[in-house]
């Protein structure tokens, strides 16, 4: 006879609404608890660490402004990914599309003369969006034409983009005035995105990001293209049956997510660094972190506004404790990885319930009783 309580997963026939709402939040909490254990093992008091993260990210005007600054690329790329994932097109290459956007913006900023000053920035945004979209079309076309899995190809295009940046900043685009560093020359003033006061918040990009999230929400929920995206994502066979063009939908969402990631890249080079640098210098993996942002928002573009601020805060706070508490630089990746892991597996509980069964020692007695009655 089993004397231990048993834990079982039981399939739910129905998911209550509130549950799918709270699951992402609870998943993040669970991730934080596990990270706390790891901190403890590293000899760091996790509660102090978390308090520092919180105050680092949200506790001061400086922290807040940095949080918003880091949320900008996450919001842009995350919005695009939320739409693509909705159609079950798994674009993992937002990081590469971001870098291509940065390259295109740099090209327009430094190497195309004759653009009037007031059109310089719009031209850079346009070029970045186009570049990101075209870069994303490579895996999209491979998927649509040859049925090659876009997860692999989009990921591989990241490394190509990254090496392209390296080639440019170490090679032909290396700035003569940069003392041999792998940087391009600094952008002229007309190619720099204005910021709010002393902060690094390049607000035109922020406005673009907010606009993108709202428009993407309307696109998905209220337009016929959005309907095609949702039907394709939920049941590709039904989409075919309804006469929807899978190819067109896949290419549309890939191009859209690529364009938004590309705009994020423009924001980084023209709003933060004012030059193209080696890839890790432009983006500490915003394109990958945006995957977490999108899932955490349950693929709702409006939710992305919130989750990008949350994850942006985590990046800022993570930096703060690295410095203050002498933690390894991988700490932020630990956060990202754990949160994604827990958010994805947290979904399980919207489909299954946990049942804990206590051992029933009484059952033996009941059986005896019954036999006596006979």
């Amino acid at each position: 006879m089993n004397t231990w309580p048993r834990i079982r997963l039981e399939k739910r026939s129905d998911t209550p609404h509130w549950l799918s709402r709270v699951t992402p939040g609870l998943s993040v909490l669970a991730a934080l608890l596990v990270i706390a254990v790891i901190f403890g093992l590293l000899g760091v008091n996790p509660w102090i660490a978390y308090a520092r993260i919180l105050t680092g990210a949200f506790g001061s005007l400086y922290g807040l402004s940095e949080t918003v600054t880091k949320a900008i690329p996450l919001m842009l790329a995350g919005t695009g990914l939320a739409v693509a994932f909705r159609a079950r097109v798994y674009n993992i290459g937002a990081e590469g599309q971001l870098l291509i956007g940065a390259i295109c913006a740099t090209g327009v900023a430094l190497f195309i003369p004759g653009i009037p000053d007031e059109l310089r920035l719009p031209a850079m945004f346009l070029a970045g969006a186009l570049g990101g979209a075209v870069w994303a079309l490579v895996p999209a076309v491979l998927k649509a034409r040859l049925r090659i899995d876009e997860v692999l190809t989009s990921l591989m295009t990241v490394y190509i983009a990254s090496e392209l940046v390296n080639y440019l900043v170490y090679g032909p685009w290396k700035g003569p005035s940069e003392w041999g560093f792998p940087y391009t020359d600094k952008f002229p003033l007309a190619a720099q995105i204005p910021r709010i006061g002393m902060t690094r918040i390049h607000y035109p990009t922020l406005i673009l990001a907010l606009l993108a999230a709202v428009l993407a929400y309307i696109l998905v929920q209220r337009t016929r293209w959005g309907f095609e995206i949702r039907v394709t994502g939920e049941n590709p066979e039904a989409a075919r049956y309804a006469g929807m063009n899978y190819l067109r939908t896949a290419i549309l969402v890939m191009a859209l997510s690529g364009a938004l990631a590309g705009i994020a890249g423009v924001g980084e080079v023209a709003g933060i660094h004012y030059r193209l640098r080696y890839p890790q210098g432009i983006s500490p993996g915003y394109g990958f972190t945006a995957i977490i942002v999108a899932w955490l928002a349950r693929l709702n573009p409006l939710g992305v506004i919130l989750t990008s601020l949350l994850i942006g805060g985590l990046l800022v706070g993570g930096d703060a404790i690295q410095l203050a508490m002498g933690l390894p630089s991988a700490t932020v990746y630990l956060f990202n990885g754990m949160i994604l892991l827990f958010v994805l597996s947290g979904d399980l509980f919207t489909r299954y319930r946990i049942r804990i069964e206590l051992p029933e020692r009484v059952s033996v007695l009941v059986r005896q009783e019954r036999e006596e009655v006979r």
Binding site: N2, R6, R8, E10, R12, S13, D14, P16, R222, T223, R224, W225, G226, F227, E228, R230, V231, E234, N235, E237, A238, R240, Y241, A242, G243, M244, R355, E357, E360, S363, V366, R367, R370
Partner: protein, 509 residues
């Protein structure tokens, strides 16, 4: 009556609640040792839930279970297997790329290396005793549904099951395979096994069972000796009202030809010829029934007609216009509607009822203005169809997957038939549905016929074919064996044609 023997299974006061519904409401079930006990009820009546409890997949909220007289706590299928209970689910749980022997050996204790060698010998014994013939070296994906089911049954028997639960075992089988299954079940009972047979088909109850327990909405409504009841009584108990077994089919004046198919050739997914030179025509107000065992090219034929599959050769004409190899969208625009055999193809389970109702009109006025969807138009469209087709749903915003099979099919039918179709193609429209829903869907098809729609009905259910069709075609091995007017067709002739034995004289048009 044999003197008091201990029942094989006794379930008392079983209650199982799911959010929003009571799936099992104080159910008592007694299954005598060695009998074939039918568990009859409509979809959603709670049959499968009750058996999942007996098999340890679910846990009852209340109630107790006795197996062979002993109080049992069944916490998992492993416990159930130890008590001698086996279950064959509707969806098979086999590893497609492995062989039969490997699947049977999977999970057995001992035999760490080459586990399949140990099982071979006993496979022969099962073949001899129960007629369960299957090649131990065949890979699962190569087997027909009927053969896969045999593997599942052998798996259960191998694990020592003397109480076998079969969950809607005939739903995937051809008529011939059903016959073989019934023989096997009877032989198992003769050998002393107890069989619980879940079904919603009345014919099966009478074909195989000794006793029958009828469930409706989670409650037991009757227990009968099969020999002492009849179809009408069971149908009434199961549905809760009288059921028409004869549908009224009014005479319709057949109009001009709507669909003409000439010498059509279509290939299967694997690139083999599946439709091999098929010709027929359907007129306004006519139902052409295509009978035949599934897998004889019906699916490929239908998919070619609705644009989901390439036509290799031949022509398809709609009202005289060539529509061969047009896109699905173009065909929808021309008024070809399609009720697919698999409900998953025609629906998006996670989207709402309202959204499923606009699946084919979402890009047209009044649903769509410019690029924007008109929420109000979607809502009023949904409300109108829900009322007209009596779809039972908590609201139009409810995800479709929460509806019963019958109501999902009503939703599909509402979408496909509300727009005055020119040609309606219905593939297995009532498969897996209960009596009440089946009756309703057949009535909708007949009323469409009266409105002048040309209807192509593909079905394995001969009763359905005979009830609805004006002419009956039989498909075998990618060819049409013959087309007979319904009043000249009889079961024997059709049955011979289905088996590919007999070919009718060419139809004189």
């Amino acid at each position: 009556m044999p003197h008091v023997t201990v029942p094989a299974v006794e379930m008392r006061g079983i209650v199982k609640r799911f959010p929003g519904i009571v799936a099992n409401d104080h159910i008592d079930l007694t299954v005598r040792a060695g009998e074939i006990h039918a568990l009859l009820g409509e979809n959603g009546a709670g049959k499968t839930t009750l058996m999942n409890i007996l098999y340890g997949i679910y846990h009852p909220d209340e109630g107790e279970i006795f197996v062979k007289g002993q109080r049992a706590h069944i916490r998992s299928p492993r416990d159930a297997i130890r008590l001698g209970i086996g279950m064959v689910h509707q969806q098979f749980r086999l590893v497609p790329s492995h062989t039969v022997a490997e699947n049977i050996a999977l999970g057995l204790p001992g035999h760490f290396f080459f586990p399949d060698r140990a099982v071979r010998q006993r496979l022969q014994e099962f073949a001899r005793r129960y007629g369960l013939h299957v090649d131990p070296d065949a890979r699962i994906w190569q087997l027909s549904a009927g053969e896969q089911q045999r593997v599942e049954i052998i798996k259960a028997l191998y694990r020592g099951a003397d109480i076998l639960i079969l969950d809607e075992p005939t739903s995937m089988l051809t008529p011939r395979e059903i016959e073989e299954l019934m023989t096997t079940v009877r032989r198992m009972a003769d050998e002393g096994h107890t069989v619980i047979f879940i079904t919603h088909k009345l014919d099966e109850v009478f074909a195989v069972s000794d006793r029958v327990t009828v469930l409706r909405q989670g409650k037991v409504v009757a227990i009968r000796e099969t020999a002492r009841t009849d179809k009408r009584e069971l149908a009434r108990l199961m549905v809760g009202r009288d059921v028409l077994f004869r549908l009224e089919k009014r005479p319709v004046t057949i109009g001009p030809t709507v669909l003409e198919v000439r010498n059509l050739r279509v290939r299967s997914d694997r690139g083999l010829p599946a439709v091999r030179g098929v010709s027929f025509s359907i007129a306004r107000g006519e139902i052409l029934g295509i009978a035949g065992v599934a897998g004889n090219g019906q699916r490929e034929l239908v998919e070619a007609l609705v644009g989901l599959r390439q036509v290799e050769k031949g022509r398809v004409l709609l009202n005289g216009e060539d529509i061969t190899n047009r896109s699905p969208r173009d065909l929808v625009r021309r008024g070809i509607c399609y009720v697919p055999g698999e409900r998953l193809v025609g629906t998006v389970p996670n989207l709402s009822v309202a959204e499923n109702l606009i699946l084919k009109t979402y890009d047209q006025a009044p649903i769509c203005r410019g690029v924007f969807l008109d929420t109000q138009a979607i809502a009023s469209h949904a409300d109108a169809l829900i009322e007209q087709y009596a779809v039972t749903t908590p609201s139009r915003e409810t995800p479709l997957k929460l509806l019963s099979g019958g109501n999902i099919q009503r939703t599909i039918l509402a979408r496909e038939t509300s727009g005055a179709p020119v040609l309606l193609i219905a593939a297995h429209p009532t498969s897996g549905l209960d009596v009440g829903a089946t009756e309703y869907i057949r009535q909708v098809l007949l009323s469409q016929r009266e409105k002048g729609t040309a209807i192509l009905l593909v079905s394995e259910d001969l009763e359905e074919i005979f009830q609805l069709s004006d002419r009956i075609a039989v498909m075998y091995n990618g060819e049409i064996m013959g087309i007979l007017p319904a009043n000249q067709a009889d079961l024997e002739r059709i049955g011979m044609m289905m088996a590919g034995v007999h070919r009718a004289e060419p139809e004189v048009v």
